[in-house]
Symmetry: C2
Subunit: 436 residues, 2 copies
């Protein structure tokens, strides 16, 4: 092969970044790859908008499927996003013997198994480094760097929007709605931010991390998922007082053949490496049996970091073709026993410490009432912060528990929330030991 | 190929760890590789010592060269360390068509070019992930993950012994000799710690990082190198007062075609990610044009983290052979223009802020005298800490400079050090902006 011919589907922010690297840094990329990478064709519905690039010699089309049929194209870069029509396009490309590189976490989380199978049948490569952690080569590290190790736990900050909001709440002492508006104004959050703040985007990426670490395919809807929308500036301040930060973590803990997989706001000790990950930065903290803790940190999103990750996958593919590879390594790096149905441990069985905030009426006996219900559910109290009286609103009773069983905590809250002294439902934040 | 046959030269701490993974976790490693990895033969001068492993079916020999001649062996793992006889052994293995995996940073720093050339001629693979950063897949991240990016700067904490000592000085408020003794007692420092504390080990690893990031081979003796042996508990305390930590950093900054490459104790802001890297942990903070800052963190040494990195290289090699590769990707990931003689910028041309500590006689007029010399060399003062009088010893004048040229600072110190008021030579610590 004289040059790797590239078709690019999706000419948005990241797509334009990839085109920029391929067009403006062709000599450098060729030096790293061992062969030229030629951007042959770009497909997008909007071909009018100026992306500030000189596209001489690049064909443009509104029909992404034509890239799959072009016999000159070796590799399709899919940057359309979302499940359809991306899924159909990717499967068509694979069926036509094209390699595929994608940044599409929603697609891989929902249909990774089908896509990897189609790639294996066609003997082509699927690269997806950019789907998790943007410019941080987390997937490669897990699949290749830690390949000989067994991963015990992973805890990741893998949604930049949620981390930006929580960091802003912490730094500025503001509440969630103000920080969300600020994130939207600065372009860190979308107009509809629900995928980011409610945790689904994090769950999509966690499904990919779990597949790479354990060789199992789980569906995002199997992942226990809670967002950050109920966290208040008050919780951040109390957490800090107790020596903790609150982060939206993607967590996977292995015990024997079972995996506990969950996404939720989490209290971690302020001196932990993950607690230092602020703004829109991402980090994944992976603990291996042999390697011990390893952390990867960097910009988890943005045009150029993500584009560099996509281009890195292209370089890798070019090197592999240049080495005369006739078969492709398994995309997950597991060659046997991909378990279609892994054993997942229910979050109900979690044992950890809990931060509980109860917005209550300002009247005597409330703490005794709450503590009584907790005690009846075998939840013992580590410490209590009771806010002094202030104006007309509810007062807040904060309880930090000793280790307790999630099932018991949920049962206690179901009993406490309807009490007439409660002004709104209790807030629960788990304290994470997997990151210790 | 039905199985990858492995010969292991060097059955010390890491060698025994590699043997443990290959023997006790064979099924897992096979699942990750796509073929079995068979430990065929171990060579070491000491075959009597019990390593707590069942070596049934593994041949043992005192003659490492016999591994190079064994036609059954596909890959030699070199864990002897040091330049010779490791160099001769590795070249013999390559000449005989064996792949080589090594953790030997001293060898690669001094003879990497020769070894990579020999591997290319023989069409075999050289894996060396374990040579820098132990269990942290730093090299793979630079060569593959960031392959499409251009690296602007790197700042690494890549010697666990030096970092352990500096962390202990910081945490316990003790001086260098006590912390060195503690590190030796705990096994973090060797009986002769000079390679670690004087910075040469860091320089060896930096030469490898520079080769991977920029495709150039530099010799360790071309790297400006200062150790940590002159840093006192007092310096750590003053640094902290000024908002800084002191770390032994390996630094490479690219500007145009020039590289500034140096190893020295460095003051970095306390809130920087690298400042949180304590104990024997390692981290490399890499800034790419597109990716922005990326950091890799973990255990940089120790039996099992290093063994897992060696075994990871074996898995990688097995996957590549299983994919039918007939040629090998370049070990540095640069396919053209490896520059044999890169342009190195002299540390004399560095412009940065300096921390200067002057141990002086307790008498009037000293500060004026020192400030006068600094001023005459165009060094302007940002702030001064002057210690109050205390007993008979020298007092210490601490000066933080504005940005100044290293050449001027060195000239000023050459003039100040012989002054009769100086009780011992001034100490200089550079403040690093490359990590910002």
């Amino acid at each position: 092969m004289k040059a790797l011919q590239v078709g690019l589907a999706g000419f948005g922010t990241v797509g334009a970044g990839v085109a920029q690297i391929l067009l403006e840094e062709a000599a450098w990329v060729e030096r790293r790859t061992g062969m030229p990478l030629r951007l042959r064709c770009i497909a997008d519905l909007d071909l009018e908008r100026d992306r500030g690039l000189c596209l001489e010699g690049v064909a443009l089309t509104r029909d992404a499927h034509s890239l799959c049929r072009d016999p000159q194209i070796h590799v399709l870069i899919e940057l359309i996003g979302g499940v359809e029509p991306a899924r159909t396009l990717v499967l068509e490309a694979l069926a036509n013997g094209k390699h595929v590189i994608t940044a599409n976490k929603a697609l891989l989380a929902a249909h990774g198994g089908e896509i990897f199978q189609a790639a294996a049948s066609a003997g082509v490569h699927v690269g997806f480094e950019a789907s998790v952690g943007g410019g941080v080569p987390i997937l490669r590290c897990i699949r290749e760097g830690l390949a000989a190790d067994r991963i015990v736990s992973m805890a990741g900050i893998i949604n930049g929007t949620a981390n930006y909001i929580l960091s802003a709440m912490e730094e500025k002492g503001l509440d969630f709605p103000e920080c969300l508006r600020e994130a939207q104004a600065k372009g860190y959050a979308e107009a509809d931010p629900s995928l980011d703040i409610e945790g689904q985007d994090t769950a999509h990426k966690l499904a990919i991390l779990v597949a790479l670490a354990h060789g199992v395919q789980i569906r995002p809807e199997q992942i226990f998922t809670e967002g950050i929308q109920h966290i208040t500036g008050r919780d951040i301040r109390y957490a800090r007082e107790l020596g903790y930060c609150i982060k939206l973590l993607a967590i996977c803990v292995a015990r024997g053949q079972e995996l506990a997989v969950r996404v939720h706001p989490t209290m971690i000790p302020c001196q932990h490496m993950l607690a230092k990950v602020n703004q829109a930065f991402n980090a994944v903290y992976v603990t291996g049996v042999h390697s011990g803790p390893v952390m990867f940190y960097g910009q988890g999103a943005g045009r150029m970091p993500t584009a560099a990750a996509v281009a890195g996958d292209l370089v890798d593919l070019g090197r592999s073709i240049g080495s005369g590879c006739t078969r492709r390594p398994h995309p997950l790096g597991f060659y046997q026993d991909i378990q279609p149905r892994p054993a997942l441990r229910s979050t109900e069985d979690l044992v950890t410490n809990y931060y509980l905030r109860f917005p209550v009426a300002d009247q005597p006996g409330v703490l005794a009432r709450i503590a009584g219900v907790l005690g009846a559910h075998e939840i013992s109290i580590h410490s209590v912060i009771q806010q002094g009286r202030r104006g007309r609103g509810p007062v807040h009773v904060i309880i930090l528990t000793h280790e307790a069983l999630e099932r018991n905590v949920q049962a206690a809250l179901r009993e406490i929330n309807p009490l007439e002294v409660m002004r709104s439902p209790a807030l629960l934040v788990r304290i994470e030991h997997a990151v210790d």
